[in-house]
């Protein structure tokens, strides 16, 4: 970890304070592009936005507690084909950063010229909840800052995945991390990479210690881990065996929205969307004959098992699959449950380290001897 600095924000408004900080970084480092959560013109929602015109940043909401899409997916749309020729400063949540790391490993993101700033996230609300609050004229951001962010706590309306997130703080992969927890009452700024150090060196910031920070972060992580372990047992009871799985996904309408929002499911030619799944009457006649009946649509459990096989080793537990499900199926919980085990099988943690290869793209000759 690098040196720790203190950020003084004059204004009460954290979003505005952080925006000014980002602008300062851009000015001193000659960066003219920013991707940051911004209030959309209709003023009732916030999306990650590529901003060039600085006047529009009046509506920047860096810490808006909402996650309508993953910035990781968005960055992939921008840099998949080639690196950005200009520097882009990106402000995003820790889970989005983990997605960036995985997508970089899969060559879906080119990191050149991207500078990442992340923060201690206390979770997001579901998009419809957040949208309703804004539509109703509520200052939900300020409330979130005082009740959640600054206290290191989470209110009941926070998304389930966020309540269980163990890596909610600005990870080592962020060039610059912004801390609120154990920050001695202020706002902590920390460079985690050489790039980050260079960027911060151009700013005049006061040093600080934040001695209790690590301990406090660890405590929160530990609490959530314990909560998750308990919840896991419940899900396991529910979704065990083929009948349990059928019950768990009984509302699934095979829309594939969960996959569409998953930052890890990046394949352009998804197997489940391919002609392999265009059948003839003979297929259906055969299945119905063999089992006596075939539920329509068929292959829903198959789809989930297949997706688990292909991507669970990189599941970053962001919960976007659950958010996307029109039937309110707890997709994330089941994927997280399986991912914990498939990742542990290779001692792999997605989003931990860029140098760590994803389990499915590598192998060791001397491993898994028990299998053959």
């Amino acid at each position: 970890m690098g040196e720790k600095f203190q950020l003084k924000i004059k204004d009460e408004d954290l979003n505005k304070g952080l925006k000014d900080f980002l602008l300062q970084i851009m000015e001193k480092n000659e960066i003219s592009n920013l991707i940051v959560p911004l209030l959309i013109p209709s003023k009732n929602n916030v999306f990650p936005t590529f901003v060039k015109n600085r006047e529009l940043l009046e509506d920047a909401k860096p810490i808006a507690p909402v996650l309508p899409v993953s910035t990781a997916t968005m960055i992939s749309k921008i840099t998949r084909l080639s690196p950005s020729p200009e520097k882009i400063l990106v402000f995003l949540k820790p889970c989005e950063l983990r997605g960036i790391l995985e997508l970089t490993k899969f060559k879906q993101i080119t990191l050149d010229n991207l500078i990442f700033v992340s923060y201690d996230c206390m979770g997001a609300y579901k998009t419809d909840f957040y949208e309703e609050a804004l539509s109703g004229g509520k200052d939900i951001d300020s409330e979130y800052v005082s009740k959640n962010l600054m206290k290191g706590e989470q209110d009941d309306n926070i998304r389930d995945a966020c309540k269980l997130c163990e890596n909610f703080f600005s990870t080592a992969f962020a060039d610059i991390g912004i801390g609120f927890i154990g920050a001695d009452g202020g706002i902590l700024i920390e460079a985690h990479t050489e790039k980050g150090k260079e960027v911060l060196s151009k700013l005049s910031l006061e040093k600080t210690e934040a001695k209790e920070r690590d301990e406090r972060l660890e405590k929160i992580s530990k609490n959530r881990k314990e909560k998750w372990e308990k919840e896991k047992k419940e899900i396991k009871k529910e979704a065990t065996g083929i009948d349990g799985l059928v019950r768990y996904f009984s509302k699934c309408i095979d829309c594939h929205n969960c996959m569409g929002q998953c930052p890890i499911c990046f394949c352009k030619e998804c197997f489940w969307e391919s002609p392999t799944f265009e059948f003839t009457p003979l297929n259906f006649l055969g299945w119905a004959e063999k089992k006596g009946a075939v539920k329509l649509p068929t292959d829903t459990i198959f789809f989930h098992l297949g997706r688990l096989s292909h991507m669970s080793t990189s599941c970053i537990a962001c919960g976007l699959c659950s958010d996307a499900c029109p039937m309110d199926i707890k997709v994330y919980e089941l994927f997280h449950l399986v991912a914990d085990d498939t990742q542990a099988a290779f001692d792999y943690k997605p989003g931990r380290d860029l140098e760590e290869e994803a389990p499915l793209v590598t192998f060791k000759e001397d491993e898994l001897k028990e299998l053959g």
Partner: protein, 141 residues
């Protein structure tokens, strides 16, 4: 056959080794159970896990993958990759209570006709003891 449970088994066998071993077992007149339906694949590394799920969901009681011994894969590392995938498959089965013992991975070279016949006997008996799989019975999958 009567009421005796005859396991339905699917084998994904590499073209360069296990499939040849099956031929060798046949031409050498070695007996092995007819329960196994072999599918010839170009390499154990070409078996996407989706196909193994398909086999189970459509009623296989057991699935066995046969590949070249470590170091002998025709495509250098397909079998090592297959081994990792099988680990993932087995882990998912275990976590979701889907009876991971129904999946085997074995290295059988082209010259090992005898090993092929014996392995198929063993696998058939192993699955016979486990009984029919529940996975393929459900029509709401």
């Amino acid at each position: 056959m009567g009421d005796k449970f005859e396991p339905k088994l699917i084998g994904f066998f590499c073209n360069w080794c296990t499939s040849s071993a099956a031929d060798l077992a046949g031409t050498s007149r070695m007996q092995y159970p007819p329960n196994i339906r072999p599918i010839r694949v170009m390499c154990s590394g070409s078996v996407d896990l989706a196909y193994i799920w398909r086999a189970f969901l459509e009623g296989a009681d057991g699935v066995i993958i046969g590949g070249c011994h470590p170091g002998d894969c025709h495509y250098v590392s397909g079998n090592y990759k297959a081994r990792r995938r099988i680990k993932i498959f087995e882990t998912i089965m275990k976590t979701l209570g889907l009876d991971e013992k129904r999946l085997w991975l074995r290295w059988i070279s082209a010259s090992e006709g005898k090993k092929f016949a014996e392995t198929m006997k063993e696998f058939t008996e192993h699955i016979r003891k486990l009984g029919p799989s529940e996975i393929g019975k459900n029509w709401s999958i």
